[in-house]
């Protein structure tokens, strides 16, 4: 399994990052990707901007562990995780998770698994500025905890 993990404070151009996930890998039958984008509203308020903070060093370790766990659960050819930090505007890509596998089912499962775990285990924090001028830390969502917990005992493929 070929793995690349990157944290960057420059704009993420997700579709330019995709070819290396499958190019030159003739046994890859399917590539599943997730791109998370900054929305222009949250909890009913218009959002003007966002700052993404992280825990340098731990972030990379946590992501590597999550990807490694995915590689133990499913047969994967390549995984790429890229996450933005710093200042973002609405519609900016926040994260890319791309998974290549021989079979589509494994690629789908692994990609969603990585996202669900990233959402609960990777040390990133969002602070958003509303259009009204308030700044606030985004609260963690129970639905994210539930999504990650479902993998603990759920079917694996």
């Amino acid at each position: 399994m070929d793995v690349e993990i990157r944290i960057q404070d420059t704009p993420l151009q997700p579709w330019s990052e995709m070819p290396p996930v499958h190019a030159g890998r003739p046994s890859v039958g399917g590539v599943v990707s997730f791109v998370g984008l900054m929305r222009d509203s949250n909890q009913g308020d218009a959002v003007a901007g966002m700052t993404l903070e992280h825990y340098p060093g731990m972030t990379e370790k946590a992501l590597a562990q999550i990807v490694d766990e995915a590689g133990q659960r499913w047969q994967l050819e390549a995984v790429r995780v890229i996450h933005r930090v710093g200042e973002l505007a609405p519609q900016d890509p926040i994260v890319l998770v791309a998974v290549a596998s021989a079979h589509r089912g494994e690629a789908f499962q692994a990609c969603e698994f990585i996202m669900d775990y990233l959402k609960t285990r990777a040390p990133f924090w969002k602070r958003e500025r509303t259009a009204a001028g308030d700044a606030r830390w985004v609260d963690a969502r129970h639905s994210d905890d539930a999504a990650a917990a479902a993998w603990e005992n759920g079917p694996e493929s």
């Binding site: 998370g36 926040i94 285990r121 990777a122 040390p123 990133f124 924090w125 969002k126």
Partner: protein, 82 residues
Amino acid sequence: MIQVLYFASLRERLGRGDETLDQHPDTLAALRAQLAARGGAWHEVFAGDLRVLAAVNQEMAGEDGAIADGDEIGFFPPVTGG
């Protein structure tokens, strides 16, 4: 000696992002109690209703997580990336 880091809303509440402690207890639970004893925002963060996660040497750790000399301890709120 241990290094203690505070992130995101915790850093803001506590007014600092990191500090070095010459003396330290052996577990995360004891370290939390020691920090809470400072009172004020420290008490609110470490003895209140907030959910505060911790990492020892950049690995998530529970209340019974052991602390040894030279460790890096991180405290932070539930994560919200992705």
